[in-house]
């Protein structure tokens, strides 16, 4: 068919996803002397979940998994990107690089010149992907505007919030129960793994954090 959307489609204008937490800086000490002036990509950050006087603050770093908005109702249902950080469509990449290669030092931390995350040194791809996908499923159940969520919110309105007040004496709303299950799942994952995940609830669903030593 002579569909103008297809006929004149220019793929160059399509938006591409990338990890907006990372940024470039030229302010680093190269690990090996080099003449080429490059930038390093800051892909890990200080651990702001622990007190800054603690040992954990000095020995651990945070990697931020960004939110993705390519799911249904992304403003209501927070979902996190299941793409390995560094492999997003608009990430800074070199061909055939599959792991983190430090190139420079900045503020006593090592960084590479691509978006590739050092996370894969501590956890394998499939585990990371499956953990994030499971967290996403919990979030869908907790926040999707349908089914039990809608039913409970309607009863809440038409009883003048008495339903929630009485219900919370015994249990929680469905949405809150799902979020509690999600937190319990994350705690279980943290017991078995060298990488520690922080629940997205603590960050206001702005990012999921992985703490690495």
């Amino acid at each position: 068919m002579n569909n103008p959307d297809v006929k004149y489609e220019v793929n160059d204008n399509k938006l591409k996803f990338f990890n907006y937490h990372e940024y470039l800086t030229k302010d680093y000490k190269p690990l090996e002397p080099t003449d080429v002036e490059k930038s390093v990509v800051i892909t890990h950050f200080m651990n702001n979940h622990v007190s800054k006087d603690s040992l954990a603050f000095k020995t651990t770093r945070i990697i931020r998994i960004p939110r993705t908005f390519e799911t249904q109702y992304p403003d209501l249902v927070p979902q996190f990107s299941t793409i390995i950080p560094g492999e997003e469509p608009a990430a800074i990449q070199t061909p055939d690089q599959t792991n983190f290669q430090p190139v420079g030092e900045c503020n006593d931390q090592k960084y590479g010149d691509t978006s590739m995350t050092p996370l894969l040194n501590y956890i394998d791809r499939e585990s990371l992907k499956s953990i994030i996908e499971t967290v996403n499923q919990y979030l869908v159940r907790a926040y999707h505007p349908s089914g039990i969520n809608a039913f409970e919110s309607m009863i809440d309105i038409f009883t003048g919030t008495l339903y929630t007040k009485i219900l919370t004496i015994f249990t929680d709303t469905y949405s809150k129960r799902q979020l509690k299950s999600m937190n319990a799942y994350i705690n279980t994952v943290n017991e078995d793994s060298t990488v520690k995940f922080y629940s997205p609830v603590t960050t206001g669903f702005t990012s999921v954090r992985n703490q690495v030593g």
């Binding site: 204008n13 399509k14 938006l15 591409k16 996803f17 990338f18 907006y20 937490h21 990372e22 940024y23 470039l24 800086t25 302010d27 800051i42 950050f45 200080m46 702001n48 622990v50 007190s51 800054k52 006087d53 603690s54 931020r64 960004p66 939110r67 993705t68 908005f69 390519e70 799911t71 249904q72 109702y73 992304p74 403003d75 209501l76 927070p78 503020n107 907790a142 926040y143 999707h144 505007p145 349908s146 969520n149 809608a150 919110s153 309607m154 309105i157 038409f158 003048g160 919030t161 709303t173 949405s175 809150k176 979020l179 609830v201 603590t202 960050t203 206001g204 669903f205 702005t206 990012s207």
Partner: protein, 357 residues
């Protein structure tokens, strides 16, 4: 810095300043200091006031919410005194019962919209690097030095990023970094200048409920406005019927003047209900128009009104679906920053950091 007079504040003094009406700027030091998150926020320009141990909140502005609440209570009382028993015996007990239910829902929704969390995002989650300066609540530098150079902040954090959306890969959604709160805000979130916080799906800051309207309390706000209008129309109609009942055959009254003289309270209620109907009704109509497109007030004012070609990607293009999402389906979720939790020493979410420059 406590003198001997304040060294042992009385228990009722502590109860009032640290629990009943808690202003984080004026906490009393108790046995080692305040202990819950709502008591130790150190940001500058903090506008929130916490009631009953951090369970309710309001903003330090002109207390128009008290006037609105007062008017609602007044209208209810006027109906119950002047109308309820007349209708109960003359027509049906259902009439005052239905009004009471509508009034109850409207009042509880008002309390919920005015005192609950609109979806405030925690601060300082996405600092690009370690801050060299930390300030106290009076904006005095307590760590680092005012002359310390601010660590070079990335240019990328000052751009608005556009990312692909679910079913629109060309227009996409905007993600912006808030330099005051130091976070990457989700799309549709905004920094409220009055409350000095970032709010998810920020609709507007309502001066009549003295709170922001955002993701977590938009539903309560909408149903509050709707039930207020319903209750108001109900009172208008019932008082109208009551006043003009003299026209029917089973009344002893002969004229309008006679009717008003017999039922002066009803007449006052009628006038009051008509006057207080105008503003809520206009707000209701505005929000019905906005929710039919899944649009927030901010998006309308900032994007749609100035730019006729603005593409609103969150519009599901089905009015029923849009109404469903905004009025019915939206889940309240949980608070992102738990005010009543025990505060952690060195919690960076509570620190007063200078805005990113």
């Amino acid at each position: 810095m406590s003198d001997s007079k304040n060294a042992n504040p009385k228990w009722w003094h502590i109860l009032i300043t640290n629990w009943i009406i808690a202003d984080p700027n004026y906490m009393l030091e108790v046995n080692g200091g305040p202990s819950r998150n709502y008591q130790v926020q150190k940001y500058s320009n903090m506008k929130h006031l916490y009631l009953f141990g951090g369970r309710l909140r309001t903003v330090k502005q002109l207390p128009l919410n008290l006037i609105v609440g007062g008017l609602m209570i007044l209208l209810g009382i006027l109906f119950w005194i002047f109308e309820a028993s007349w209708f109960w015996h003359k027509l049906s007990p259902a009439i005052p019962i239905v009004f009471s239910y509508c009034w109850f829902i409207s009042f509880t929704m008002f309390i919920k919209a005015a005192t609950s969390d609109p979806g405030i995002l925690p601060r300082n989650m996405h600092l690009p690097n370690y801050p060299t300066r930390i300030k106290d609540e009076d904006d005095k530098t307590i760590e680092g030095s005012s002359s310390d150079p601010i660590v070079a902040n990335p240019d990328e954090y000052f751009n608005t990023i556009t990312l692909p959306y679910y079913d629109d890969k060309y227009n996409g959604v905007n993600v912006k970094y808030c330099t005051t709160c130091h976070i990457w805000r989700p799309p549709r979130s905004s920094h409220c200048g009055v409350c000095n916080v970032c709010v998810v799906n920020h609709d507007h800051h309502c001066i009549y409920i003295n709170n922001c309207v955002g993701l977590r309390n938009y539903k309560y706000f909408l149903w509050f406005v709707l039930f207020t209008v319903i209750s108001n129309i109900y009172v208008t109609v019932t008082t109208f019927v009551h006043i003009f009942h003299y026209l029917s055959t089973d009344s002893n009254l002969k004229s309008f003047k006679h009717s008003i003289e017999t039922y002066p309270g009803t007449f006052v209620t009628l006038i009051l209900s008509i006057l207080t109907l105008i503003y809520p009704l206009s707000i209701l109509i505005i929000h019905i128009c906005l929710t039919s497109q899944n649009l927030t007030t901010r998006e309308y004012l900032n994007n749609v009104r100035p730019n006729k070609n603005f593409v609103h990607v969150f519009d599901t293009h089905s009015m029923l679906k849009n109404f469903y999402i905004t009025w019915i389906g939206r889940s309240r979720g949980v608070s992102s920053f738990r005010l009543r939790d025990q505060s952690m020493a060195g919690d960076i979410r509570l620190e007063n950091l200078p805005p990113l420059e």
